[in-house]
């Protein structure tokens, strides 16, 4: 078993017994479900909207080279510098170089999962730059020196009391139980930072090929401030974020907001097409767009699971997943958790080390049902299981299945097996829970169904 798998099992074992955690997550997600269902019902036809979105994303991803070239040539024409980065370390070095050239001290950052993916903050802090997360949830988990718990709701595992204690300890504020006051503490702490920072780093939700623009979705206004006041702006963007046309946003913005957070559209959806243009009164004088591959092209090369690149990171599949709801976001030990994380992490970080995530699923299909771009998530989990076992076949398992097939296909042998099972059943029951139990690894967490006192065949015979 890989280290990652061992850690997953241990963390899951602990947290599933934590009733406080479960209560918190269930309450938060129940609120989400109510809001989402209400907003979904405002659509004329939700399922057709999803289908349209899936088709649009299919087109974008399956013509990625054309659209990316169109996007970059348009955005460069207006004075933006585009950096192509095949790997995480290359993207990190590019960004460090830009910040060094800008002679920056303070960097303000809005939410970007791609930055988590390449561990950007650690690298910049090691270089001696101050990096301030401006999204409230991200700000909170940064103070706790923790990765985000959820790709959309980074601090959903914390209570207001924990946040108040944290602020008291780290910012010297007085304790409060009001979410409003806690928010204002963060607002005040960050306000000066936007003005002082020399560099602003943002992520992005969509890249529009037709017009050469990046679209950033947020509720708080922190990304808008990050993109308005610092002298230099850097946007880190996965290559899969492409959409062909500006008009596509009319579909994708409501879909993202409804599926992800139960909103009609998110508070601010902002398009950026360049650094400050002639005649404009503010905005960065330099804008760098950093395009990140980081093994996305490997996922692209798998036609069966290519649609995983359609993901718009709405978080809906996490919210509905019975596994996520029980083990929580940190247990996964990955940047992207939940069903989509379980599907793509083996591609991004190695199948053998991360194949256990394919089994962290009940295959109920709730994720596939929830996904606004109709990614076939639960089938991809099955495919990852198949691929993992195909790479390293286990002869014990093969032998066991052969034997099973043989017994099942030989009625006399099967009947004999039933007789034997009925005879040894009382003995097994007495051994259950002791180290002598032969099926201990199963019965430790589950019940073995009892052997029926008579088979259906016998019952039928006796009845006549």
């Amino acid at each position: 078993m890989s280290n990652a798998a061992q850690q997953f099992l241990e963390a899951a074992g602990t947290i599933t017994r934590n009733l406080r955690h479960r209560g918190l997550i269930q309450t938060a997600l129940r609120k989400y479900e109510v809001a989402r269902d209400r907003k979904k019902s405002a659509f004329n036809d939700w399922s057709s909207a999803r289908q349209s979105a899936a088709e649009t994303k299919w087109d974008a991803i399956n013509h990625l080279d054309t659209y990316l070239t169109e996007f970059t040539s348009k955005i460069e024409a207006r004075g933006t510098k585009v950096h192509w980065c095949p790997t995480g370390p290359e993207a990190r070095d590019t960004i460090r170089g830009i910040i060094r050239d800008a002679k920056a001290k303070c960097v303000v950052k809005s939410k970007a999962m791609t930055a988590e993916e390449i561990h950007l903050n650690e690298a910049l802090e090691k270089d001696g730059f101050e990096v301030v997360e401006s999204d409230l949830g991200e700000f909170i988990v940064q103070l706790r020196k923790e990765p985000p718990y959820h790709i959309v709701f980074p601090a959903m595992h914390l209570t207001r009391d924990e946040i108040s204690d944290l602020f008291e300890r780290e910012l010297g504020s007085s304790p409060t139980r009001e979410p409003e006051e806690l928010t204002m503490i963060a607002r005040r702490a960050l306000r000066r930072k936007y003005i002082q920072a020399d560099v602003g780093i943002t992520g992005a939700n969509f890249a529009i090929a037709e017009t050469g623009m990046v679209s950033i979705t947020e509720n708080e206004g922190n990304a808008r401030l990050t993109a308005a006041l610092p002298r230099v702006m850097i946007t880190l963007l996965g290559i899969e974020k492409i959409l062909p046309k500006l008009e596509d946003l009319a579909l994708f913005l409501p879909l993202l907001a409804t599926a992800g957070a139960g909103q009609t559209v998110t508070g601010y959806n902002t398009l950026y097409g360049g650094p400050r243009q002639p005649g404009e009164s503010d905005g960065p004088v330099e804008w760098h767009v950093v395009l990140l591959d980081n093994r996305r092209t490997e996922l692209l090369a798998d036609p069966e699971q290519r649609d995983a690149l359609h993901c718009i990171r709405c978080g809906a599949c996490l919210n509905v997943c019975p596994i996520f709801r029980n083990v929580g976001g940190h247990t996964y030990g990955t940047t992207y958790s939940g069903p989509v994380g379980s599907v793509i992490t083996p591609h991004l970080r190695g199948l053998q080390d991360w194949k256990h995530l394919s089994n962290a699923s009940s295959l109920c299909g709730a994720c596939t049902e929830a996904c606004p771009v109709k990614i076939d998530l639960h089938h991809h989990l099955l495919q990852n299981r198949r691929n993992a076992i195909g790479e390293t076949p286990s002869w014990i398992e093969r032998l066991a299945w052969r034997a099973h097939a043989f017994v099942i296909n030989t009625p006399a042998l099967y009947q004999f097996g039933q007789e034997v099972a009925r005879i040894v059943e009382p003995l097994r029951l007495r051994l259950q829970g002791t180290p002598l139990d032969p099926v201990r690894s199963w019965t430790r967490t589950r019940d073995l169904p009892p052997v029926a006192p008579e088979s259906f065949k016998e019952w039928w015979r006796n009845r006549r």
Binding site: A28, W84, P179
Partner: protein, 244 residues
């Protein structure tokens, strides 16, 4: 390690993409078998864009209403839900009167705005010390203003949103740094839905895009603490929309 020039990295990524795409992927919704799951046929026309068919998704989305009156009703309903203070008034004079009244209640000492016919008239009516952001400003001066007053490109009935941009709405920060954002608009700027809004914005700017275009939907908000709604996370705590 060898230093790679940016050109090489670009070519490397594009080559990998092209190589990957030599094997086609199944169309969405087919699960590799060719069924369509619950697909309703589009009543809207299917047209072609750069050789690919486009489903006009507009028909599936939340509706925005079909008459100007319906647009107004929807915008008002969406505003109420978003906690936008939406006021539809009879005339510009009445808009100014309301503005003065808000200014008195909130005790505005410094107002920030930009030059345009609507905002110029409003700042004259307000008669308070005013920062105009056109042509550059010091961020600290804007930070101390209690309100940013701007125009907008369009208002969207479907979602209760409005569109501001960095060229004709006073820059990137004016509509998001001060704690109160006031928008002045005319009724004919109200459009049905996002599709129409994007079309209008495109017509307005042609290929000469401002560097930022923002679709603003309600005041700044967060639910990051126990999923409880709080207004004014980093942007404006209040959004007032005055139209006539």
């Amino acid at each position: 390690m060898v230093e790679e020039s940016p050109m090489n990295a670009q070519e490397r990524i594009l080559a990998r993409i092209r190589e990957a795409l030599t094997v086609p992927a199944p169309k969405p919704g087919s699960h590799g078998h060719g069924h369509d799951h619950g697909r309703v046929e589009a009543p809207a026309p299917v047209f072609s864009f750069k050789g690919r068919p486009v489903h006009v998704a507009r028909a599936w989305l939340p509706p925005g209403g079909s008459t100007p009156q319906e647009h107004l009703t929807r915008f008002a309903a969406a505003s109420a839900e978003l906690k936008t203070d939406f006021r539809c008034v009879e005339s510009e004079a009445e808009a100014h009167a309301q503005l003065r009244q808000i200014a008195d209640t909130e005790g505005w000492k410094r107002v920030a705005t930009h030059h345009s016919p609507l905002t110029d008239a409003a700042s004259t009516a307000l008669a308070r010390p005013t920062l105009f952001t056109d042509g550059g400003y010091v961020p600290d001066d804007l930070e101390v203003c209690e309100v940013g007053i701007t125009t907008c490109d369009v208002l969207v009935a479907q979602t209760g949103s409005l569109v501001v941009n960095s060229r004709t709405s006073g820059g990137r920060a004016l509509s998001v740094l001060p704690p109160h954002h006031v928008v002045l608009a005319r009724k004919d700027q109200l459009v049905c839905d996002l599709t129409e809004a994007f079309q209008r914005v495109e017509e307005m700017h042609g290929q000469n895009w401002p560097s930022m275009i923002s679709l603003v939907t309600g005041p700044s908000r967060t639910g990051d603490i126990e999923r409880i709604l709080v207004l004014g996370a980093h942007g404006p705590k209040k959004l007032t929309v005055l139209i006539w």
